[in-house]
């Protein structure tokens, strides 16, 4: 069944994962999008502020997107997102990390400009196997309302 705006009331939504990120994935993403030594080269990474090979923050965000897709967006009447309020990279992504995604709904409101849709603001926290918070993201997604609800309110 497709999830609509009504299925996203404020509060805790769900926990998804684990999703393992391998060294090969970290190196492949870094080579294509973020070829800084701290993401590509063990020796340089050991010298960096992050003290060891770490995944790109953009890789972590992209994996978070995939975990959201597999967890619920793949079966949600999603129309896309206008942006991201905030991303905080707190602890580096390491090769072999098993990621868990915790999703909370911070806000859900009907769109003024497009009343057949709602704007659901998600707060996502991604943790490694040791339970450390690696990344926090707050982002709205536009979701269709159930036709009967949208019509009922318009009438």
């Amino acid at each position: 069944m497709t999830l609509t705006f009504e299925d996203f009331p404020p509060g805790h939504f769900g926990t998804f994962g684990p999703r393992r990120v391998t060294r090969e994935e970290i190196l492949a993403f870094a080579a294509e999008f973020d070829p800084q030594p701290m993401h590509l080269d063990e020796a340089a990474a050991a010298q960096s502020m992050l003290k060891g090979l770490s995944g790109s923050g953009w890789h972590l965000c992209s994996v978070m997107m995939r975990m959201m897709f597999d967890g619920f967006i793949g079966r949600t009447a999603s129309l896309g997102s206008p942006g991201v309020n905030e991303v905080r990279w707190l602890v580096p992504l390491r090769p072999g990390d098993d990621l868990m995604l915790d999703v909370e709904i911070a806000e859900a409101r009907v769109s003024r400009s497009r009343p057949s849709t709602g704007i659901v603001t998600f707060k996502c926290v991604i943790r490694n196997g040791a339970g450390q918070e690696l990344c926090e993201m707050i982002s709205p997604i536009i979701v269709e309302r159930r036709p009967e609800t949208a019509v009922g309110q318009a009438g």
Partner: protein, 159 residues
């Protein structure tokens, strides 16, 4: 790259352009964001985007790619002049990221980067903290992407 002391608010770097081909859009989407409008032309046309659209995370990742390339270019130029090269630190995050308009198949996006704020780090005196506004503009001159990134930059006198 530059040291904290060499950076002024308002300094702008043109990072170069990137063509988001249908093939690249679908490849990224298949791996990280397989929503139908990022994978299929017809689904894209039926969506709010009006065509096969790149994942927003793809657009952000390409911006990062061009930022890194620009930093490496700048470092090579500094090294060629015999200057000491600053190695920038990791980023603690970003805020106010806006996907202003869809990036559609075969759009050419030009990226630029402008220093918005700078301050010294309280916890790490050898580092400064910058906020940088990164933007993307399409071939029609329309802004499509904007974000305010935070980064650690080494201080010259700490080396």
């Amino acid at each position: 790259m530059r040291f904290f002391e060499d950076i002024e608010i308002g300094q702008r770097r043109e990072l170069g352009s990137f063509i988001f081909t249908a093939e690249l859009i679908k490849k990224f989407a298949a791996q990280f964001d397989p929503q139908r409008f990022h994978l299929d032309e017809e689904e894209g046309r039926k969506s709010l985007f009006g065509g096969l659209a790149a994942s927003g995370w793809h657009v952000g990742s390409v911006c990062m790619k061009l930022l890194v390339a620009d930093g490496q270019r700048e470092a090579r130029e500094a090294a060629a002049r015999g200057e000491e090269v600053a190695v920038w630190g990791p980023s603690p995050g970003f805020r106010d990221l806006r996907w202003i308009k869809p990036v559609l198949a075969n759009d050419t996006i030009h990226f630029a980067s402008e220093i918005e704020t700078k301050r010294s780090s309280g916890k790490r005196p050898e580092w400064g903290i910058l906020e940088v506004r990164n933007t993307g503009t399409n071939q029609r001159g329309e802004p499509v992407f904007s974000m305010l990134a935070t980064g650690f930059v080494p201080r010259r006198n700490a080396v």
